[in-house]
């Protein structure tokens, strides 16, 4: 096994901590994107705390880049930034406020660690591709990871980027699809079925890896396999559960962007506590 039990254990603990940070950002009554932020949290833990080249200075030119094309789930990144020291714990309480550093959607001007402006869905993968091409042009070995929503694949621009990514053999680009099956208003199958997702990416010329997006070993193995793949970009289709970890919210569109009640908030805190113990 490539990763030791203690490494996996450590990452699981970090993921639990990040879910705790997430809850801190949305105290009772404050609306936030709980569902899509928690579905991608295990991937975020694996990226920022194991796989990616990450430095104390969030602008270090040698860093790998992570872009959330599904920008509404940026709370997951903010949680990682707190643990990396890019923003303070206090900043978490000021998310989406006038004097805060953490905007409702990713904004590189406001938040150290954010790489682009995203959130208008469909654009982040193209931005990531441009970064990947720019880094390659400069002879950099930094890589670009782009988190794409499964609902976001409704956007035509995703497929423009898929076509171009393969055409340019951008093997320093990895798209991670947070396949939680639920969009803003309903389950994806009802909103707009995307069909055979793996086949689609494969037919566009991408290296495709399907994983359980909550299994830390599978996540790390997929990221390593993406790194080893030359001549084409990789799409990791991470099958996830929307609201993962917060049982009352799991798989429900109602928690895509919602405010928790007092009792839900307490329950969420208890669940995080248990996650940390079980990790």
């Amino acid at each position: 096994m490539k990763y030791s039990e203690s490494e996996i254990h450590e990452l699981k603990k970090i993921a639990a901590t990040l879910r705790g940070d997430l809850i801190e950002m949305i105290p009772p009554g404050k609306v936030g994107h709980l569902g899509g932020s928690s579905s991608i949290m295990d991937v975020v833990a694996a990226l920022y705390f194991k796989h990616m080249k990450v430095f104390k200075d969030p602008k270090d030119p040698k860093r790998d880049r992570c872009i959330f094309s599904k920008g509404h789930s940026v709370l997951a990144q903010y949680a990682a930034f707190v643990e990396l020291g890019y923003v303070s714990h206090d900043d978490l309480h000021k998310v989406k406020t006038l004097d805060g550093t953490l905007q409702g959607h990713p904004d590189m001007d406001h938040t150290p660690g954010i790489e682009a402006v995203t959130g208008s869905l469909g654009q982040g993968l193209s931005v990531s591709l441009g970064m990947a091409l720019g880094l390659r042009l400069d002879g950099s070995d930094s890589r670009v990871f782009c988190v794409v929503g499964d609902g976001e694949m409704n956007e035509g621009q995703i497929w423009e980027a898929a076509m171009a990514g393969a055409a340019y053999k951008a093997d320093n680009l990895v798209a991670i699809i947070d396949f939680n099956g639920v969009q803003a208003t309903d389950v994806s199958e009802k909103v707009m079925p995307v069909g055979q997702v793996g086949e689609k990416w494969k037919s566009f010329g991408w290296n495709v890896i399907e994983i359980d997006g909550h299994n830390m070993i599978e996540i790390l193995d997929a990221l390593d396999a993406a790194k080893a793949c030359k001549g084409k970009p990789t799409a990791i289709i991470a099958h996830t559960v929307k609201g993962k970890g917060f049982t009352f919210a799991e798989g429900k569109a109602a928690y895509h962007n919602a405010a928790l009640t007092e009792s839900e908030y307490k329950e969420a805190q208890e669940l995080v506590k248990k996650m940390k113990e079980d990790a």
Binding site: D107, M108, D109, E115, A116, V117, T118, G119, S120, G122, Q123, G124, S126, V127, S128, L129, G130, M131, A132, L133, G134, L135, L137, D138, S140, G156, Q157, E160, A161, M163, A164, A167, Y168
Partner: protein, 316 residues
């Protein structure tokens, strides 16, 4: 009549890109299967590794240009003006303008200059929709030399820029040695009766109109509004001083364009320059196919004779 020398503004664009590419390794260019028309392919021929053919996918081209800018490059993205402005509007807005990135967008075959292709390919709205974007600079060259100098200047301007380039071979009305100053209007001809603010190909039309008016004893000052945004409000007001009336003329919708910006400026300025101002442009209408560019300019009332009439009307 003196001989009119015409030169291609598109060629000026391509040549300027190549010169920039030689001077600065950080210059990259992207196209969307129209590089032959925009002449950005001249850059591609010399710097293939820095030239990105993105296919007929303008949204992806603009966002990818943002990504290239985010890795420290100065990215020139070119296509027809309609496909460089309205079509990828939200990509320009979200990926580029909010982040103030060094993405330089060339809207080629602008205005009515793509005369044969008709309404889908003629940009009447690009000035308005680019101007409304915070952080965006909007440039509109009048001829070959001005195009060349503007494109070179764009590389040094921090943040996003839009340049509108005509498909027409435009009469050369500036000199190679003239300086282009970003954000400053340029007086092309002095006069004491009325001022005509013009932009792009319309600067030549205004100069022709001024000659005709001179024969009738009307002395017109012609101002080339080559930077539409940020607008040189001081220069606009200064040019209206002592004038009895003003006319604005642009090859674009009169709604939200250069003329609107000039009117906003004059009305908010000192009382002595709050003069009668009439706008000329495309009157809330799409384009249409024609056999010649000149036919379209006549159809849309943008000829020197139309400007003559409008100046007289303003002076009434």
């Amino acid at each position: 009549m003196s001989e009119v020398v015409k030169m291609s503004m598109r060629k000026a664009y391509g040549e300027a890109l190549v010169e920039l590419g030689r001077e600065n390794k950080k210059i990259v260019a992207l196209e969307a299967d129209l590089g032959k028309s925009t002449m950005s392919n001249m850059f591609g021929a010399e710097f293939p590794e820095r030239y990105f053919q993105m296919g007929i996918a303008e949204a992806n081209m603009i966002s990818a240009a943002a990504g290239l800018a985010l890795t420290g490059h100065i990215a020139f993205a070119s296509t027809f003006a309609v496909f460089a402005s309205g079509r990828p509007y939200d990509q320009i807005r979200s990926s580029v303008a909010i982040a103030r990135l060094n993405v330089k967008i060339c809207g080629s075959s602008a205005g009515l200059s793509d005369f044969g292709d008709g309404k889908t390919h003629q940009s009447v709205d690009d000035i308005a929709i680019m101007s409304v974007l915070p952080n965006m600079s909007v440039l509109s060259p009048a001829d070959y030399w001005e195009t060349k100098k503007m494109v070179k200047a764009m590389a040094d301007i921090q943040g996003p820029c839009y340049i509108r380039v005509s498909r027409a071979d435009a009469p050369v009305i500036t000199d190679e040695s003239d300086e282009f100053i970003f954000g400053k209007v340029r007086q092309m001809r002095d006069g004491k009766d009325a001022v005509v603010y013009a932009t792009g190909f319309m600067v030549y039309q205004a100069l022709e109109a001024a000659k005709k008016l001179e024969q009738e004893g009307i002395d017109v000052r012609v101002i080339n509004v080559n930077t539409i945004k940020p607008l040189d409000t001081d220069g606009i007001i200064a040019a209206a001083k002592g004038m009895k009336a003003a006319v604005t003329v642009e090859e674009a919708s009169i709604i939200g364009g250069m003329g609107s910006a000039v009117c906003d400026t004059l009305i908010a300025g000192p009382s002595e320059t709050r003069i009668k101002t009439l706008k000329m442009g495309i009157i809330d209408r799409f384009g249409t196919s024609a056999q010649k560019y000149e036919e379209l300019l006549a159809e849309y009332n943008l000829t020197p004779d139309d400007i003559v009439k409008k100046v007289k009307e303003a002076l009434k």
